[in-house]
């Protein structure tokens, strides 16, 4: 009995300690974000930003576009078989466009971005930390938050919304290919129903807001995990895994909250 109690107390202590550690990490991450995201970029900062935008944006374009195409095609195929039962296959364009713009494009693009660019950012910054490049930069008198972290952060903020737009466009086109070219939905009603039901502000705009929020969260998690990791090869591999896991969970959780606020009638 006594030992059971003691064990219970130990569990509670451990829970408390983990809670404290989690809050501490959250605080560190917040300070970290504030310190690196502010500050006017110098002329050189633009060049660094451009380079990172190329790395996280342009090089992620292929995977995002290919996924978008397939998701659009699958949506059209699945949607058609359901809608055709109600004789409502004219609404295919509307269904494809709305599900892509509101949900699938921001979420799936963010998940792909976390896997492709986020993990690479973590590993890259972690490697710079492990090989003392960050320390040596500090000793030269250059703040690594400004020089290494800030360009990556801002590149991520810009890249993901653009990738999301690309995802939507290609997905809608993929839906067109399957729905109109293959399954024979009337082209005019594919586009017409889409245009009459999609609102630029409410659907495209809210989708963009979502993807901007995801961009901030995913990039933040990725660079913070890289900066905060234990500088060993094991630490890097763990941090890379954590980046993908945490950012995927954060994206899906936030998506629910944002959807509830934007489309769920909460206001």
């Amino acid at each position: 009995m006594q030992s059971k109690l003691k064990q219970g107390a130990a569990y509670i202590t451990r829970l408390g300690r983990q809670g404290c550690e989690a809050m501490e990490a959250l605080g560190r991450a917040g300070v970290f974000l504030a310190q690196s995201a502010v500050g006017i970029p110098s002329k050189e900062g633009w060049a660094l930003w451009l380079k990172q935008l190329h790395f996280v944006g342009v090089l992620s374009l292929a995977i995002v576009l290919v996924s978008g195409l397939f998701i659009g095609m699958v949506l059209a195929l699945q949607g058609y078989t359901i809608l055709v039962d109600f004789g409502a296959e004219q609404a295919l364009g509307q269904m494809v466009a709305l599900s892509l713009l509101r949900e699938l494009a921001p979420v799936v693009a963010a998940l792909l971005f976390a896997g492709r660019a986020g993990s690479a950012l973590t590993a890259e910054i972690g490697l710079m930390k492990a090989t003392e490049q960050l320390t040596s930069m500090e000793m030269i008198g250059v703040d690594p938050l400004r020089r290494v972290v800030a360009p990556r952060l801002w590149a991520g903020f810009v890249a993901l919304p653009i990738l999301t737009v690309g995802f939507s466009v290609v997905g809608i086109w993929g839906g067109y290919l399957v729905g109109v070219e293959w399954l024979g939905v009337f082209e005019g009603s594919y586009w017409g129903n889409m245009q009459s039901s999609v609102s630029f502000i409410n659907d495209v705009g809210n989708g963009m807001i979502k993807s901007l929020v995801f961009a901030v969260v995913v990039t933040w998690i990725a660079v913070f995990q890289g900066y905060d990791l234990v500088p060993t090869s094991e630490g890097i591999s763990r941090a890379t895994t954590r980046t993908v896991v945490y950012s995927s969970l954060a994206v899906l959780g936030l998506d629910f909250v944002l959807t509830a606020v934007m489309f769920g009638g909460l206001s």
């Binding site: 050189e44 490697l127 710079m128 090989t131 003392e132 490049q133 320390t135 040596s136 930069m137 500090e138 000793m139 030269i140 008198g141 250059v142 703040d143």
Partner: protein, 279 residues
């Protein structure tokens, strides 16, 4: 002020009653040191005594629990972030791994401090970089990337980068570790020559006794979080303290035991045997 005093007996770095711990583990328990201006001072000690940590404390990357570090009269840990970065411009540090920026080539690595801290025109930066690379004998390697360099070459490039801004102080973190005899000789030569040519203050952290003794003017030996001995190479060589002589002469067993703390060997073996027999 004493900033412009050319006298060599005024200490450049003063470390007073330095305490530092990492978690439960005490690393320094009251370290006192004075590092003279314009000399090579070596800090030696067995692995794991926190020599690198000491350099990080001097560079202001870690904050001590107690005590202070004065560099040229400035308390490193009381400075604002801006003043600390300004002070660091006057220091160079050579890291154990070289720590070259992997996304820049050799030339850009050496040019990096010049580009961020000066507004010199490109042509002048080029001349300065080539001058520094010439001094370490790697002018021909300027277009290579860090991945293409051998360990010794990387450390020489890092040395060129550390002196790019003509600092007053260079901190060397284990400069001889893992080097073949030739690059070791090259590095010993370079450190000695740089110290004389630029009349800078050097702090070498190392456990390579022969090389360090050959270049150091002054030695500190640390163990158990404290300074156990200091003096010139000659006085340390003659020191009779067993902790000192074990380290200087490389004896395998002594005050620093060969065995990691464990219960008695006899009981460990026998106890295990009785358990297996019983089971």
């Amino acid at each position: 002020m004493k900033v412009n005093q050319p006298m060599t007996d005024v200490p450049f770095i003063e470390i007073e009653d330095l305490h530092f711990s990492r978690g439960e583990h005490d690393i320094f328990r009251g370290v006192n040191m004075t590092i003279p201006r314009g000399k090579v001072t070596a800090i030696m000690g067995p692995s794991g005594t926190g020599k690198t940590t000491l350099l990080k404390l001097i560079g202001g990357q870690l904050t001590p629990d107690r005590g202070r570090v004065l560099i040229d009269g400035l308390d490193v840990h009381r400075l604002s972030r801006k003043a600390l970065f300004a002070l660091r411009k006057r220091m160079g540090m050579l890291f154990q791994s070289g720590a070259l920026f992997s996304d820049l080539d050799v030339f850009e690595n050496v040019a990096f401090p010049l580009r961020v801290h000066t507004d010199l025109p490109d042509a002048m930066i080029r001349d300065l970089v080539l001058l520094k690379l010439q001094a370490v004998g790697l002018r021909g390697a300027r277009t290579l990337t860090p991945a293409e360099l051998s360990g010794g070459m990387a450390r020489r490039v890092a040395l060129a980068r550390a002196v790019a801004l003509d600092p007053e102080l260079i901190l060397y973190d284990e400069p001889f570790v893992g080097q073949d005899p030739i690059s070791m000789g090259v590095l010993v030569q370079l450190i000695k020559r740089l110290n004389q040519a630029l009349s800078l203050t050097s702090v070498v952290v190392s456990h390579d006794i022969k090389e360090t003794l050959s270049i150091a003017d002054h030695l500190y030996l640390i163990a158990d979080g404290q300074v156990v001995a200091h003096g010139t190479p000659q006085t340390l060589d003659a020191n009779q303290d067993p902790r000192v002589s074990q380290f200087i002469h490389g004896e395998p067993d002594g005050p620093v035991p060969f065995h990691y703390p464990a219960e008695s060997f006899y009981r460990d073996i026998l106890g295990h045997a009785s358990v297996t027999r019983a089971g």
